[in-house]
Amino acid sequence: MSVRLRQLGVLPFGGWPATAIAVIGVGIYLFPIYWMLISGLKDSAEIFANPPTFVPRAPSLAAFEYVFVRENVLRYLRNSLTIAIPVTMLTLILGAMGAYAMSRLRNRLVDFAIVIVLLLQVFPEALLATPMFIIFRSLELLNTFAAVILATTSKTLAFALVILRPMFRQVPFELEEASFVDGCTRLQTFRLVVLPLMKVPLIVVGTLCFVQAYGQFVYGLTLLSQQELQPATVGIYSFVGAEYADWHRVMAFSSIFVLPILAIFLAMQRRIVSGLTAGGAQMTKISVFRRFERCA
């Protein structure tokens, strides 16, 4: 038994037995995702078989082919990406600027700004949908990607600011001072010194914002009534909403939609988890109200 186990040890096991329990537990927990992926591989007879088959008897790509040809999955995916990519860029640009300023300025105004961000990130989109609809209608932006992009960014931006601010504080101030001494302006310092150092955190936060924007539903449903423009979430919804859903096809559609996200997540798992633990720890223990000592 290791020292760590004895310290935290609330449960009476560790080592390989714990690994075995974890494998089984995680397997059961993630079973729904497995079920989604293999349901898409079944045909219309097998999907309604009783008892259900846990390994597809005759895996076929027919359902995938159907949704590609008949349900225009590619168009939906393209729409989702057309929304998610600009949202991510806009969020990262505004988020990096704001988080950098929040990490470097030290006064009541900044404290106030942080509280504003914390408060503004809590409102459910469903409640903002009506005013958003009216605003974009008067701006004559309904049924444009711009409307959904602007609306979605308001959600991802607050999240990015909360997570990025503590990360920007980790950039040593001495580096910036050195670049000032070398004659860099603040903007140059930000671009040439700070941002390169923040590359990994920005990628992690960008990924999380991308995932949120890619799966965004409410604004796509409300602000885009033209089917040609709707994102994949709305496409899946109209598919599920049908009285008798073709579940293997719905699951094939869902699988195609989420596979990129799962692939990105698995590839970046360690970074995302450590980014979330670092940033997330700040969400439960934010040093918002402590003045920034370094620049004093």
């Binding site: 993630l30 503004l120 223990k285």
Partner: protein, 294 residues
């Protein structure tokens, strides 16, 4: 600030804050404005609309579906918070032990949290299908149920079903936040307690739990806030039905606005939801403040 002037920093600060005020702050104010006006499809884009005072609020409070849905919302959020914090804590404690693959498998759990809420809703609708759903099959194969449960069409069960799905969806995020807080507990505390002869239960009650208390409170606030957003998931699973059995406030407000085009009542309903979320947000900010002060 030594050296360079910080004017640029103020520009950097102003841009995102103005963006948020414009696209979140203004809609909230606009929503409040609509809640005291008569808004219909005819005058929706006009700025000046008939002022009706608190009439919309009276309509909302007298509405039976609102009363039912308010109770649903409190139940849905309450159960989610309790379950996500309790299960999240248990899972975080389990993975805090030293065993091969602990970090990797803990991370893997986040897969469910990465999925779009709408897809999670669609997926659980399929799992909970009465006749062909895998949930009923597994439960009856284990002899836990005699006849199939009508997960989504039985008004007595629908709220439980969407709650279960949402717990599955959100738990890993709570777990990761709690795990982060766990690692911040100084190891010396455990060593000292062990020397004093404290068993694992005692260490949990007297060291782990008190040290985690502020973090658990913050997580509870965050879960409340995120659970109030569960629109997509419920929309995909039941649309709030049957008979509003699984409906929650934000969804009901949306339905009033976009299904019945009763924007005034929808906005007034939204105000109630805003109030709940705003109250929790204030509690959240206060929790963080105390945490920093201590």
């Amino acid at each position: 600030m030594p050296g360079s002037p910080s004017a640029l920093l103020y520009v950097f600060l102003a841009l995102p804050i103005l963006y948020l005020l414009g696209f979140v702050g203004f809609p909230i104010v606009y929503n409040l404005m609509m809640s005291v006006q008569e808004v219909n499809l005819g005058n929706i884009t006009e700025f000046i609309r008939p002022f009706v005072g608190l009439d919309n609020y009276r309509t909302v409070i007298a509405d039976e579906s609102f009363q039912k849905v308010l109770v649903n919302t409190l139940l849905f959020v309450g159960c989610n918070v309790l379950a996500q914090v309790a299960i999240g804590l248990a899972v975080a404690l389990f993975f805090a032990q030293d065993f091969p693959g602990a970090g990797f498998m803990r991370g893997l759990l986040l897969c469910s949290w990465m999925l779009p809420a709408l897809v999670v809703g669609a997926l659980w609708k399929w799992i909970f299908a009465t006749e062909y759903g895998v949930a009923n099959y597994v439960l009856s194969a284990l002899h836990l149920i005699g006849s199939p449960i009508h997960w989504l069409s039985d008004p007595a069960v629908a709220l439980t079903s969407v709650t279960l799905a949402n717990i599955w969806f959100g738990m890993p995020f709570s777990m990761i936040l709690i795990a982060a807080a766990l690692t911040a507990i100084p190891k010396e505390h455990y060593e000292a307690a062990s020397l004093d002869g404290a068993g694992s239960t005692a260490r949990f009650w007297y060291i782990t739990l008190p040290a985690l208390k502020p973090a658990l409170l913050a997580v509870a606030c965050l879960v409340t806030i995120y659970t109030m957003r569960a629109f997509d998931l419920i929309f995909a699973m039941t649309q709030g039905g049957p008979l509003d059995a699984s409906n929650v406030l934000p969804l009901l407000s949306y339905q009033f606005s976009f299904k019945q085009f009763d924007f005034g009542t929808g906005s007034a309903m939204g105000s109630f939801a805003f109030l709940i979320v705003f109250g929790v947000a204030l509690l959240y900010v206060r929790t963080l403040k105390q945490e920093t002060a201590s």
